[in-house]
Symmetry: C4
Subunit: 230 residues, 4 copies
């Protein structure tokens, strides 16, 4: 792999390209996930602090749900890029679009935290679910670009792993489409769908990468090594 | 170590996984610790600047204490992951929960900076200490997941180091439980417990990793090399 | 390459220097691009949420355009540094100036988002285009410093790649000069120029690094391998 | 170097420790430097945009000066850690204190931007210069801890480089002490001292790391290779 070819190859070339893409993506993920907390703040209501802390519960719901959803997205972005050794302009651009949508999650989370419990809650949750629908579509775009040239840029990607990411993305797209529709009927219905999906994904992520007990150190195929995959 | 096994292994595999987990965690730590400073700001009081700078002392206390506490958490997170060479889904998820709580520290610090010296100070400090109680519980969860499979993912972790982190975490949980109780009686009592713990930890961190004088370059075991460990 | 020379060389020397410059630059790029989203927020208008979300369309335009422009800048910064193996004080300082201007993009984007559709729109867009004119001039400065000593710090940089970056930068400078002038005549004229440039660059980036079909794995020159370059 | 010793050594040990310290420090530097730009914003004055953009010139002065000063600090932090291969608890803690002060720079810059041209300008600039005085003292502390055990953790650090950093730090401490005093007499006098120092440092940084013309690729000592050092 990564055998530097002709004299005008940038030396430690493609490895370095992937590294910096990951660093940049990690930066956007880490900043977006941390900026979510900026919206958790006590309103200057003038009332006693204890009650103010209790009454801002929609903010906690929005924070918890958004943080865990970005965490799942990061875990899967991480899993995807783990197999990619070389880079393409197409993938860089598509990944940029994905990050552009992820950076908007604090905005959507603020909407939910501010409007949950009000008459506008339906539109707030529908916007929130719609953003994650767009994020999953962008993720599928990145993923399809990688898979199309996988024999060139991700030659070691096991088919089982590829199918697993496929399933996760298609499930996300369908789930958030349902969530948008449900939210327009009733805010909490849309939120329940979004919460159920994140809970399911976290449970799956928690069980993943569990190396089989009978395996030796560093041995075995990554494909076989992964247990508990959906 | 890290000997890439079968053909469908992601090449520089598990090392890369740990690297990116650290980069993401470092991002959240660095952003949370820097966002603390956003709360240090002069109120638009209209009075002279010199007095305004002096009267905002609770903000300085909250900044100093919170920054140093996150610093200690980062130092220990750093020490823990230093020994982990391979990754598990469980650890990634638990670490995400830990980061979710750490990202809330600026919120809790703002509460202390705004309410210290008011009638609501007790609830502000209790919330602050309660958040760090939850953070230490989450850290223990991450740590227990690592220790359970340490022969697979952290085979070189010395028992002395493991026991040291155990002691630190259990001490933190007990200490912050006491701090919550003390804060509900009197704000400054709770704050004093939190300050004492951070001072103790910093002092310990300052003395740690002190390579013994008689040791040769790069030689000796890390276990023996560390002096001044509690 | 990177053969550590005499005894007082910092070991893994110059490689490490480039790595940290990239990490720092990536940090500023990632934070600036993510902070753009902080300006996407619903005004406390009191009206219904659905209308408020529609009426803030200038904010969406500013966000989309600014995010994609910073993305293009990052892609090119990435492409430039990929070839640089050693570092110079000059390059570090000039790169710092570049980052100083990039960190101001959220400010300029806020101007556009707030004043588009008002009488002050012309000055807002002219400021926005003027900032990107300055950014392209700073980028050209960094680039010229690298090219001047390319046989020392970027010996593998192919001439085709060097000319491509030259063309991109000179095009950017001319384009944004036109955009400033157009904006002073009519806000949307200036904006149209800026949008056209980003669309053109993204299209080019999307096609770049496209390894030729007939090429073997890791073989071929990077120069020949790149198709679709302007 | 970095030859992993006994069985309970964390493998790629100390190298990794330095890497993560740098990543964390870079994060705090990059976030602080980017957050400076958050303070560059048009006040809701209601007047025409063109005049508002001109009248906020103190904000530009504060941004320019603060960004360039943090840039110089980062360049020197970078130069210092380039030579450090192993880590100490002492250095980690002292570095944390340094970062705690650097994260406050946006606060001090806001003071200057808001109060320059008002009756309170003297205290604003004195606070600003005082913060950089404290930063240089903390930097000297980190540096002294490194130098004390340099034969263990930075064996390749050339004496010329060590003396150069010494001079820079002592100069910074004296300079900012003068700046605090000057600021209390007249705001612009203090600011002039701060501007002069940053201009001098940037000029020096610009000339540094300039490899001698007669040198071969990768050859020569870093000590001899650096020209233009003060």
């Amino acid at each position: 792999m990564a055998t530097a070819g002709a004299g005008d190859d940038p030396g430690f070339g493609t490895t370095k390209e992937t590294t910096r893409l990951e660093a940049f993506s990690d930066g956007v993920f880490a900043i977006s996930i941390t900026l979510l907390a900026l919206e958790v703040r006590v309103p200057d209501s003038g009332g006693p602090l204890r009650r103010a802390l209790l009454e801002m519960w929609p903010t906690y719901v929005a924070y918890l749900l958004s943080f865990l959803t970005i965490l799942v997205l990061w875990l899967n972005h991480h899993a995807l890029l783990l197999w990619v050794h070389r880079m393409r302009g197409k993938v860089l651009v598509a990944n940029g679009m994905l990050l552009m949508l992820i950076a908007l999650v604090p905005f959507a989370a603020t909407l939910v935290g501010r409007y949950l419990g009000t008459a506008d809650a339906r539109y707030a949750v529908a916007t929130y679910a719609g953003l994650f629908l767009a994020i999953n579509l962008a993720f599928l775009w990145v993923w399809r670009l990688v898979v199309t040239v996988r024999h060139r840029i991700a030659p070691n990607l096991p088919s089982a792993e590829a199918r697993s990411i496929d399933r996760w993305l298609v499930g996300g797209i369908l789930g958030y489409a349902v969530a948008v529709g449900a939210a327009l009927l009733h805010a909490w219905a849309g939120l329940a769908v979004a919460i159920a999906m994140v809970a399911f994904w976290l449970w799956n992520a928690y069980r993943r990468h569990h190396v089989a007990e009978h395996e030796g150190e560093g041995g075995g195929s990554a494909g076989r090594a992964v247990k508990g995959e959906a």
